[in-house]
């Protein structure tokens, strides 16, 4: 999933300041899972912003709504009937959601309430870890299911670097050395020969180089 964190309140307040009728828009999927932009967080942010406006004696309409997903048009069109009541949207979707909603209602300014962070997993309650860079050419099989691009601080495909101590990364001792994890895992699976070759430099053209990527699936089209 995509992870995100709420922006500092001051930054949000500065961006919404010119507007009088604001819809605070949550997203019930990825950002709800990472407790940044789901229904609860959307309700809290809207409430805080309403209180701030009242304290300043400003007349501002601030309502909230949470879509199941902001990045899928089928859900965004649910706003069609209410959007005319607002002069700005404050989105708690990820960057993809903010843009998808913005494209549906180009006449209305849309403001991001979150900073989108990374593709990751929920490791534990309240702990999210980055584990994929979305490189477009997944090699996880060769690395025992642990991604060296996302989880090795040096992005080494032919690791380890030799600097890890006690299983920790030399760049950041708070994180495990990805190559230690890879070797342990591959050994556990008895597939050590998978690591014996030299991996050529990563072909990044599958991630970037031709502008934003697209996925086209005719079998899924209308």
């Amino acid at each position: 999933m995509i992870t995100a964190e709420q922006k500092p309140l001051d930054e949000i307040r500065e961006m919404i300041a010119p507007y009088k009728r604001i819809l605070v828009l949550g997203c019930g999927s990825c950002v709800a899972e990472c407790a940044a932009g789901g229904e609860k967080e959307t309700g809290m942010l809207a409430s805080i912003l309403r209180m701030a406006a009242k304290m300043e004696g400003r007349e501002v309409l601030i309502n909230e709504k949470t879509l199941e997903r902001q990045c899928v048009k089928d859900f965004v069109i649910l706003l069609d009937d209410i959007i005319q009541d607002y002069d700005a949207l404050l989105s708690l979707g990820c960057g993809a959601g903010v843009q998808a909603v913005g494209d549906c209602f180009p006449e209305i300014p849309i403001i991001p309430a979150l900073n989108t962070e990374f593709l990751g997993e929920t490791k534990d309650q309240g702990l999210w870890l980055e584990n994929c860079l979305g490189c477009g050419d997944c090699k996880l099989y060769h690395f025992g299911g642990i991604c060296p691009l996302a989880r090795c601080s040096k992005h080494l495909l032919n690791g380890p670097c030799g600097g890890s101590v006690g299983g920790k990364c030399e760049i950041n001792p708070e994180i495990p050395c990805a190559w230690q994890l890879i070797i342990d895992r591959v050994e556990q699976q008895g597939g050590f020969e998978r690591l014996e070759g030299i991996f050529p430099p990563k072909d990044w053209s599958k991630k970037q180089g031709l502008g934003p990527r697209r996925i086209i699936r005719e079998d899924q089209q209308r």
Binding site: G43, S47, I48, M51, K54, M55
Partner: protein
């Protein structure tokens, strides 16, 4: 009648969200407390303090309360294991949020009941009312109060 004290109480409205396992917190006791304090308290029983969503504290502050408090069972006595500890962290975070818009963090709080000889709901609410009585009326509600006062 200790009228100064009564005025203090009448000035503020405090919302209490309390765990149903707190002693003397049944329906009869709740009604008795509401009768005693009138509009200065609002009581909301919840199944477990861990279930409290901070948005409830915020909407109390937004809509009617000068302060909102959560009353939880003692650490280790939570029927749902760790409900009260998680609630404590959420309340802390919510206090930080209101501080960011310039509201006193003391308008929110959590009181954990004592383990030895747990206090009843009436005793705890009285203690909290005493604690918050020096707060000024909430600046969030000042405009709605003015509106309400107009007809007089």
């Amino acid at each position: 009648m200790g009228s100064a004290h009564m005025n203090d109480r009448e000035r503020l409205t405090v919302a209490f969200f309390y765990c149903r396992n707190i002693p003397e917190s049944g329906e009869t006791e709740r009604q008795a407390l509401e009768k005693e304090y009138g509009p200065s308290i609002r009581l909301f029983p919840i199944p477990c303090s861990g279930r409290l969503d901070p948005v409830h504290l915020l909407s109390a502050l937004e809509k009617f309360a000068d302060a909102a408090y959560l009353i939880a069972c003692p650490e280790g006595a939570c029927r749902y294991f760790e409900g009260n500890r998680r609630a404590g962290k959420r309340v802390e975070r919510t206090k930080e949020m209101i501080a960011m818009i310039g509201l006193e963090p003391e308008r929110l709080g959590m009181v954990i009941n004592t383990k030895k000889r747990p206090k009843g709901l009436g005793v705890i609410t009285a203690e909290i009312l005493e604690r918050v009585k020096s707060l000024a009326p909430s600046p969030v509600l000042k405009n709605s109060r003015v509106e309400e006062e107009k007809p007089l």
